[in-house]
Amino acid sequence: MKRRPGVRALCAGLLACLAAVDVLVARTEGFATSAVEFTAAETGRILQHGPWPMPWSPDPSNRVSGRPEAVALGRDLFFDPRLSGNGKSSCATCHLPARLFADGKPRGEGFVQLDRNTPGLLDVRHNRWFGWDGAADSLWSQSLRPIVDRREMGASTSHVGALVRGDALMAERYRRTFGTAPTDDDTVTVNVGKALAAFQETLVSGRTPFDAFRDAVARGDRGEADRYPAAAQRGLKIFVGRGNCAVCHFGPNFTNGEFGDVGIPFFAAPGRVDPGRHEGIRKLLASRASLLGAYNDDPARASATGTRHVTLEHRNWGEFRVPGLRNVARTAPYMHNGHLATLADVVRHYSELNEDRLHADGEKILKPLRLTAAEAADLETFLRSLSDAP
C-alpha cells in the first residue's frame, strides 16, 4: 500500500523551497479603507507607485541638462519652425502643449502619415529608452531624429548648422549655452538636441488624486485614504492585483521603461510590418548619436550601461515601449499606432485579450482579464484618477 505524503513531509518540502528563494524586498502589511481591503502584496505595489514627483538629477550625458540658459534656448527651438526643412513645422506642430505635448491623432502626421502615435512629453525625462521602439537611448538623441527624418520635419544637419550659425542672436545664445561658437553641422545639430532635451526635462505632470491616496496609505491615514473614490480603489485593486497591470506599468511613472507585445496588430500598412523594438535595437546600435558614441558628455559612460548590454532577441519583434500612465485619460488615442480610441477600449482590449495575437515567445502572464462591466468601469475610473487635472 502506497502512503500519501503527510503534512509534515509537505511542510518540509515547502520550507526547502522557501529556503532556496531569496526574497529581496520585505513585505509590507496590508491596508484597508472603508471600501476595499488591500493585501500586503497589493499595498506594497501601491506604495511603489510613488512618491510623486520623483527626484530627478541632471542627465550626465548632456552637459547642459538642467541649465537655465539651455532650457530657454531649447524652449525657443521647440517652437521654431525654421528647424524644419520647409520652414513650416516645429516640434510643437505635433507635440501640442494644449494636448500635453501629444497631438490627439491616431498616427502622427508629418510630410506623410507616420506609422506611430505621437507620444506626449510630460515626464519624458524619466525614460530609459525613447520612441516607441527605443531606438534612442537619450532624450537629446531622440530629439534629433524627427528633425532630420524626411517624413517628419525633413531637415538635415547642414540645414540646422546653417540656421544656428546664420542667426546672430541664436549663435550668441548657443555660445553662451555651450561655451563655444557653433562649429560643424553635426556638433551643432547634436547640441540643438541637447538644448531641446533640457527644455523637455522641465515638462513634468502634477500630483493626482491617486498620489494623495498613495501617500495616505504610506502614512497609514485611513481617513484621508477614504477620500479617494471607492470605484477608483476597486480599480486600483485590480491594477495591482489579479490584473497584473503593475508588472509592466511599474513604479511612480507607471512604466518599467521596457518593451512588450500586448497583441496590438503591428501591420503599419497592408503587407508592411512595424518591427518595433527589434528594429529599434538595430538602429540604436548603428547610431553615432547613442550613448556609446563621442557625443555622450558623461566621461565615465555609466549612463551607457543599458546600451552596452542590450540584447537583440527574436521576441523583440512587435514589442513597443510600455508607456507611463500619468495623465493617460488626457492623451487618447492609445497604443503605439493609436489603434484604440478610448480608455474604455484599452480596458476592453485587456479584458478580452486575443492570445492568438501574442508573440509565441513573448510574455506568458498576459491573459484575458475577463472583467465584468462593473470591474471594467472601476479600472477605468482608477486610470482616470492618474490625471493632474479634470
Binding site: 532556496a20 528563494v21 531569496d22 526574497v23 529581496l24 524586498v25 513585505r27 502584496a41 506594497g44 505595489r45 511603489q48 530609459r128 503593475a246 508588472v247 509592466c248 511599474f250 513604479g251 518599467n256 521603461g257 521596457e258 518593451f259 550601461t305 543599458g306 552596452r308 548590454h309 542590450v310 540584447t311 532577441e313 521576441r315 515567445d361 513573448g362 510574455e363 506568458k364 502572464i365
Partner: protein, 134 residues
C-alpha cells in the same frame, strides 16, 4: 632516494601553497554548491531593484581535485513569464581571483532565477537560485 621523493613532493605542493585559499563566502552574499564548485555571489550595489542595472561580484571555488574554472557566465530569467532579461551580462575577472558580472537588470517584479554556468575540464556546472523581487 628518500630525499629526492621529498623534494619532488615539496615541488608539487609549492604552486598550490602559493595560491591564496579560495573563499566563496562573500560578506552579505549568498552561496551555492554544485558537485564541483562552490559559488558565492552578491549584488553591487547591495540591493537589486526593479528597473535598475546592477552587477554581481562572484567567487567561484573549485572543490578538491577540480580544475579552476575556464569560464563563468551569468544569466537570469523569469520561469513563470517564460522570458529572460533584456540585457546580456558580461563576466570579467576581478582582483583576488574573483569575477564581476555587469549589465544585469530585472525589468519586472516577480520570481527571477539566476543561472550561473561554470565551465571546467570540458564540462559545465549549472548553479541556480530563485529570488523574488517585489
Amino acid at each position: 632516494m628518500r630525499a629526492c621523493v621529498l623534494a619532488a613532493a615539496l615541488l608539487a605542493a609549492l604552486p598550490a601553497a602559493a595560491q591564496p585559499a579560495c573563499n566563496p563566502a562573500l560578506p552579505g552574499g549568498k552561496q551555492l554548491e554544485s558537485a564541483r564548485f562552490s559559488l558565492g555571489y552578491r549584488p553591487v550595489p547591495g540591493t537589486v531593484a526593479v528597473g535598475r542595472h546592477f552587477a554581481l561580484e562572484l567567487a567561484v571555488c573549485p572543490k578538491t581535485g577540480v580544475q579552476a574554472p575556464e569560464s563563468v557566465s551569468v544569466d537570469a530569467h523569469m520561469p513563470e513569464h517564460r522570458h529572460g532579461m533584456n540585457y546580456k551580462a558580461q563576466v570579467g575577472a576581478a582582483p583576488g581571483g574573483r569575477y564581476k558580472a555587469e549589465g544585469l537588470m530585472f525589468h519586472m517584479p516577480g520570481r527571477w532565477e539566476f543561472v550561473f554556468d561554470v565551465r571546467s575540464g570540458g564540462k559545465s556546472d549549472r548553479l541556480t537560485q530563485s529570488i523574488v523581487l517585489e
